[in-house]
Amino acid sequence: MAVQTAETAPPAAPAAAANAVLAPAFKDALIAGLVALGLFGPLIGFETVIIDGALGLAYRPSLLAIMVGIIFVGRLLLNLTVWSPNRRPATHAGPTVFERVGTLIGPGVKPALLAFAVLFPAIAAYSMGGLNQSRYLIDLGILILTYVMLGWGLNIVVGLAGLLDLGYVAFYAVGAYTYALLATSAPINDFFAGLFGATFWANWAFWFCLPMAGIFAGVWGMILGFPVLRLRGDYLAIVTLAFGEIIRLVLINWVDFTNGGAGIASIPRATFFGIQFNAGPDGFAALFGLPFNPMHRIIFLYFVILALALVTAFVTVRLRRLPVGRAWEALREDEIACRSLGINTTTTKLSAFATGAMFGGFAGCFFAVRAGFVSPESFTFDVSAMILAIVVLGGMGSQIGVAVAAAVMMGGMEMLRNLGFLRQIFGNDFDPSLYRMLIFGFAMVAIMVWKPRGLVSTRDPTIFLKERKAVSGDLVKEGHG
């Protein structure tokens, strides 16, 4: 009725029209306020306190009034503005401001981000006023790039092939333990010591184990793939979730092999292709004529993970344009149609699992060499959930979206650790780190409301005849699992 009034009311009677809007808006806000009173009454109105050793009730009427007042006023304002029947729906003629900015800077984003990533250590050192002071930033960069790589790896399974995998951390763990176990293995060390000298294996372990970690993780990806081939959707998600937990529990309980919950320590550090980062005469600094600085190793690690991430991106982009990549995406779109076109969906799914797992294994190997210590506690479900959140937030199937999402998520989480200034607003009792996950959760909800298909929701076609047109996210399916 209100809508009709608004449309048919002649301009000579604006007062009547305003009244017709105000009354229902007020009524609605009043109801919302009453609901809030009912809800907040017991939740906020009462507080349990200990009085003289006994449990007593304290009342907080002023806080309750403030909360209900916020609800009432907020609802009233929304009714009069955003939800007002008088408000004409915004008509979108042509692309929005965001889209226009997007097309304007679109081609430059990727090179700019790449250049920033390559120059990041220099920028960090310059802005912090020295190598040693930039350690925190570069460590953060390494963390973000690790998650970028993991996101890109999982993107193959979830974004391209549409198989929901909640246990991706298992492959990360397989890669990390592959390096940890092989690099600290005494028989292998003795074997190479006899052939090439005592320090050979410690110096070269990482470069030998990196491909091994990828291969092992890929094989585990296939082993996981076989039993879950027939599963779809929720069932697939649950089985992959269980697989992630099984790997972690095996690592904890197989004490003879993995040293259990105590983890594996003193794993050989990364070397500059056989040259150690130490202060000795054969060390990296001495050979390159630099003053010794422990930051050299950190910066080198930064470039290693950057290179690994770029390899992941390159391979994924190439694979997408190959028949196997198109088959992954076709599988996500319609599995039955795939089979009617002669595509073996079993091998296609397995190849997606194995490829995704392989990159997880590479990242795990890097994790072990960076930390120098692995334990099952590093491979909990939280990590899987975080990687999956990065993929979903970034936009399934999009490389750049996943990279930005990883930077926002990991960088954002870190920034929320340092919210000291909030104390000045809320008083000294306020501990911002307690609210970290809450703020983070709000941010995720906000982004998913604003961009339900992730930051980059359009799909880039893999081949074109005349012009490359992005496919709208509404048409792209999310896969059946």
């Binding site: 190439r318 028949p323 196997v324 088959a327 039955i336 009617s340 076109l341 081949i463 399916k477």
Partner: protein
């Protein structure tokens, strides 16, 4: 038109590309297909018709490997009609197929769905269109050439490094796709998402996609459903062109009688999972059992028809 000059037999008897023999399909207690046998002639357009729920799509799903038949044999012949010995041999040794240099016998009931399409070269479309809606029209046609391209890309190894063999194969595949786009009139929309196309164009694209997998037998499940008369006419032209220029045999399920009577050489009629008629369109049209199945008759009329058929049968029996 559909008779073989050498033997005087109809083509589906002389040179069948597909022989369905005693096909049964049971779902629990329900018998969807009951002892169905028919043949599809090489180079023919064969229509499978029948009232709703007659089991036509079930037969299609059995032929294309999506269902495993409860019983029966489905023989697909590449090159030429196989001799009874060859069929007996492949059935006995328990292999999926017996492939020679110029001919091959495939037992479709032993093959999983992707092999029916990839190796036996039977392509199909679906009653409810199944395109890759989020991929472009061109990408849909490239996915259809998956197996050939997969081999050309060295199972992704050659393709990863962009070796010339792969680039050439990709170019050839694009040309094939362009040919079919031209054929179905979708060249201008090659770079649009398939889900954006109007309904009639989606139907045509699905046929083009099936043809990109270079089938020898094309199975179309209600290709004219939802098309207007002009689009139906275009479909007839397209199907005739496919048969004439590519020698692809076509088996189609269709309710649109204008399409069936216009283009098919051979019509098989199903009702309640059983074959009730089989022959040229003209013969089928006048068959009282078909008329009864389609229009429905009361009990007396059924008895009358049956009696008449019995007399007819006895007469032909006596004549022979």
């Amino acid at each position: 038109m559909a008779t073989s000059p050498a033997t005087g037999l109809p083509r589906w008897e002389a040179d069948p590309i597909l022989s369905v023999e005693h096909l049964f399909m049971r779902f629990g207690g329900l018998i969807a297909v009951n002892d169905l046998s028919f043949k599809v002639g090489r180079g023919d357009i064969t229509a499978l018709i029948g009232p709703n729920g007659a089991g036509k799509t079930t037969v299609f799903n059995c032929i294309t490997g999506f269902y495993k038949p409860s019983e029966g044999r489905l023989i697909l012949a590449h090159g030429r009609a196989p001799t009874p010995d060859e069929i007996a041999e492949v059935t006995r040794i328990g292999e999926r197929a017996l492939v020679g240099r110029d001919a091959g016998v495939y037992l479709l009931e032993r093959m999983p769905d992707y092999r029916v399409s990839g190796e036996a070269k039977v392509a199909r479309t679906f009653q409810n269109i199944r395109l890759f809606t989020g991929m472009t029209v061109l990408e849909n046609l490239m996915v259809a050439q998956h197996n050939a391209l997969m081999a050309a890309s060295g199972y992704s190894l050659k393709g990863l490094f962009g070796l010339p063999g792969w680039t050439k194969a990709q170019k050839a595949a694009t040309e094939t796709a362009k040919y079919w786009l031209d054929k179905v009139g979708l060249t201008d929309r090659a770079d649009d998402p398939a889900g954006d196309l109007p309904y009639g164009a989606q139907r045509r694209l699905e046929i083009a996609r099936a043809m990109c997998s270079e089938p020898i037998l094309l199975c179309l499940d209600e290709p004219a459903a939802g098309l207007n008369p002009r689009e139906s006419l275009e479909l007839n032209t397209l199907l005739r062109a496919i048969r004439a220029e590519h020698g692809t045999s076509i088996l189609l399920i269709e309710h649109d009688m204008s399409v069936v009577m216009e283009i098919s050489d051979h019509v098989v009629v199903l009702d309640y999972g059983t074959k009730i008629s089989d022959g040229t369109p003209r013969a089928v049209k006048d068959d009282p059992r078909v008329i009864a199945a389609y229009l429905g008759v009361d009990e007396d009329a059924v008895e009358e028809v049956e009696a008449e058929l019995h007399i007819e049968h006895a007469a032909t029996g006596a004549g022979a």
